[in-house]
């Protein structure tokens, strides 16, 4: 009795009929959106494509980039939007490794965001809209570079911060329960200034961070202007975790291509087992 006594023909017929009726309008709507998508704006003539190049040979690990970034964005306590790692097992092997958001072209964080709170702006910068972020932290789980941070509690607000008009390009004041990250100083780039970390690195006379537009093939470190492709070739550039296919827009110049600074000026790093030496 309780075995299947469903009249199969009626069932299938009803299913197909109602199915067709119910899905046709949605298919039509989908076709509409698809048509709209295929007419998406082509690359404009002056399409910007911002890139950053970090010269590991020039970086001495002073962390002034981090400090400048924190000052510029009122970065909440406990976050380092550009973090300088120390790698290597001994003083002779020590290497500084600044790590900002890699602004991936194929960004794992953008892929997984359920509400489009994290997105590429039209200059290729990965931004977070804190008015939309639901705080699920899926992007943090997805990011292979660990450069995303969460406001676990209400961040401390400085008085200056209160006068800032929030925009995803300058995400201040910071909000509890949302995800934060380096936004490549989109607010400064927009008005023709260099990112805070680049300026700070130049001010420290290290000139280790280059910034520019890949479509113009021009980058600057605050002192020199160089051809990006030449810089990358001469510096034997690599991208961090290139094999993941995320296509980062941050390049690193190999540290070992020039004479290293004398080892005696360095502290022992004390890191014993680093599985991911860049």
């Amino acid at each position: 009795m309780s075995r299947l006594r469903l009249s199969r023909r009626t069932f299938v017929k009803t299913l197909i009929a109602t199915g067709a009726a119910a899905t046709l309008p949605s298919v039509a709507k989908l076709a509409e959106t698809w048509a709209a998508e295929s007419h998406s704006p082509h690359a404009r003539k002056t399409q910007r494509r911002w890139v950053m190049v970090i010269d590991l040979a020039a970086c001495d690990g002073c962390k002034k980039c981090t400090a400048a970034c924190q000052k510029e964005h009122f970065v909440p306590f406990g976050q380092e939007w550009i973090r300088v790692f120390e790698t290597g097992n001994n003083p002779y092997d020590k290497q500084n490794f600044p790590l900002p958001c890699q602004h991936c072209e194929i960004a794992p964080c953008v892929k997984v965001c359920p509400v489009a709170a994290t997105y590429h702006n039209d200059e290729g910068i990965v931004l977070v809209d804190h008015n939309k972020c639901i705080g699920c932290r899926f992007c943090m789980a997805a990011c292979p570079y660990g450069v995303r941070f969460f406001n676990w509690t209400e961040p401390k607000h400085s008085p200056q911060e209160q006068f800032v008009q929030y925009s995803p390009e300058f995400p201040v004041p910071h909000r509890k329960g949302t995800v934060e990250k380096c936004m490549l100083c989109a607010h400064r780039v927009k008005i023709g200034r260099l990112p805070a970390c680049v300026e700070a690195c130049a001010a420290a006379e290290m000139w280790a961070i280059w910034f520019g537009d890949a479509n113009e093939n021009l980058v600057t470190n605050g002192r020199d202007v160089a051809k990006l492709t030449d810089l990358l070739a001469e510096g034997r550039a690599f991208r961090y975790k290139e094999e993941l296919g995320t296509h980062p827009r941050v390049y690193y110049l190999l540290p070992d291509r020039r004479d290293r600074r004398p080892a005696d000026s360095r502290k022992p790093a004390g890191k014993s087992d680093d599985p991911y030496r860049p």
Partner: protein, 514 residues
């Protein structure tokens, strides 16, 4: 008013008794559960007020035991599908008394599991954004869609076979409170048991039984894809979909056995939930246990053999490192012991254990007393004191505790062999605990693993997380207990059908009038 005619189904009284009378035990249970839930609610209010900073989560380990609970409960929810739908579709007759309990587990596990994600969110007030701005390429959207579909479907699938029983209660339980009678009358949907009603019911149940199986499989596959779609070591694995589905069915069977054991004991439903049911479900549990072992071995062997740095780092931490205690406890209590316990009637050498003198109660008791004393000293006076004064290293104490535990288990085996039902219920309890630990092992180590040139991250759940977790489990038990007070736990009409040879439509009409 009492029925004047003799009761034609006296064997159903144990099923109906809980619906008619409420004892002090039940009230105490509800009070205790409400207290736990209140503590959880207080913890959640604290979290809402101060932010997720009150948890042990940090920028490295961003998901912790909330997500562990989420995966665990979604897994448990697979009980209903497997037991009820698959057994119904394949026409397994012995399923009849247990379908209702299984379907109820599905509904309540989903009701408790799905909100765990909401609790984990930094901005729970923006939950509706998922519908407003939802992006189809986010696995979270897949989850929202499939869990909504699954919850709707399982509610429908729970309700449909309830209809004839609702009519039965409407007509039989005349002395219950007014609201209950109104509820039964409404839910019975005018059921009189006519052939056309039966046909309609069968049609609905059959359609649901078929469609709920792929939906259930999709749900846990999609849950696994939340992890599988990222690039993290230990998560980014192609077997994650089936691995999670098998794990879900495994823990679902364990949950249904636990529930059956509890209700058989509390309500005396032995007439319906016979040893045969426990034995059959025990074999199913064993099957999925072996399948899960197979998946576990193939998962870890593959990544350890390939030996990418990130994979070996993870495997090393699981096998020997910071997570090894959780990992091995999970393997032993979640997979190995349950396998022994479900196989117990077939393990002849177990009787020999009775003859081992060390496993008698007195030597075991003495051993436990000594160990307890040392352990208490360790706890009170500290490790250093025990090392120097007693000359015992605390690792030795831990090993001794393990050996003693194993000995106690071995001593228990001959006893359990005499009680196969008890051993299967014990196995199911162990599987539940083991599978929760397994979910923890899936979620946390992959996040704590260094993905940049740093050390391992640490994660220690706080009282807020534990309170909310306890509250979630209490809510699940409370929902189930309340369900057991309102609805019959056994699908009475289906059990009756199995006893009566299928009558002709005309005969059924007569039966109705009688």
């Amino acid at each position: 008013m009492t029925p004047t005619v003799p009761d034609p189904h006296p064997e159903e009284r144990p099923v109906l008794r809980p619906l008619q009378r409420t004892g002090w035990g039940f009230r105490l249970l509800v009070a205790a559960l409400l207290a736990v839930i209140a503590a959880g609610a207080y913890a959640y209010v604290t979290q809402l007020r101060l932010g997720l900073g009150v948890t042990g989560l940090n920028n490295r380990v961003t998901w912790g035991i909330y997500i562990t609970n989420f995966v665990f409960f979604i897994g448990v929810s697979h009980a209903g599908t497997l037991i009820s739908a698959i057994l119904r579709v394949t026409g397994a007759e012995w399923r009849r008394p247990i379908t209702r309990m299984a379907e109820a587990i599905t509904v309540f596990a989903l009701m408790v599991g799905a909100p765990m994600v909401l609790i984990d969110m930094g901005r729970p007030e923006r939950i509706l954004s998922v519908f407003r701005y939802g992006r189809l390429q986010s696995p979270i959207l897949w989850d929202v869609i499939s869990i909504t579909t699954y919850l709707t479907g399982s509610l429908l699938y729970l309700y449909l076979p309830l209809i004839p029983d609702m009519a039965l209660l409407r007509d039989r339980l005349t002395e219950v409170p007014r609201w209950k009678r109104a509820l039964y009358r409404a839910l019975a949907a005018g059921w009189r048991g006519t052939p056309r009603q039966h046909a309609a019911l069968e049609r609905g149940i059959s359609a649901m039984a078929i469609v709920i199986i792929p939906v259930a499989i999709s749900v846990h596959t999609v849950v696994s894809w939340i992890f599988g779609m990222t690039l993290r070591a230990g998560w980014h694995s192609t077997i994650f979909g089936p691995y999670f589905v098998i794990g879900a069915i495994f823990s679902g069977i364990a949950a249904i056995i636990t529930a059956m054991g509890a209700f058989r004991w509390v309500y005396g439903l032995g007439g319906f939930l016979t040893d045969r049911h426990f034995r059959n479900l025990g074999y199913l549990l064993l099957t999925f246990n072996l399948l899960y072992m197979y998946f576990t071995i193939s998962e870890y062997l593959t990544i350890a053999y390939g030996a990418e740095v990130k994979d070996t780092t993870l495997v090393h931490a699981l096998f020997y490192g910071a997570f090894s205690h959780v990992f091995w406890v999970m393997l032993i209590i979640g997979l190995v012991l349950p396998a022994v316990l479900t196989l117990i009637p077939h393990l002849a050498p177990i009787d020999l254990l009775r003859r081992v003198p060390a496993l008698r109660p007195i030597p075991l008791g003495v051993g436990a007393a000594i160990l307890g004393g040392v352990g208490a000293t360790l706890h009170v006076r500290g490790v250093a004191y025990v090392n120097t004064t007693l000359g015992v290293h605390h690792d030795v104490v831990l090993v001794a505790a393990g050996v003693l535990g194993a000995a106690a288990f071995l001593a228990l085996l001959p006893v359990l062999k005499q009680r196969p039902v008890a051993s299967i219920v014990l196995a199911s309890l162990l599987v539940n605990a083991g599978m929760w630990l397994k979910r923890y092992i899936i979620v946390v180590p992959s996040m704590a693993l260094p993905i940049t040139p740093t050390e391992w991250a640490t994660y220690q759940p706080t009282w807020v997380e534990w309170s909310i977790t306890a509250g979630a489990f209490a809510t699940f038990i409370l929902l189930y207990a309340l369900f057991a007070k309102i609805f019959p736990l056994i699908s009475l009409w289906e059990v009756r059908e199995a006893k009566v040879p299928e009558p002709a439509p005309g005969a059924r009409a007569q039966e109705v009038v009688a």
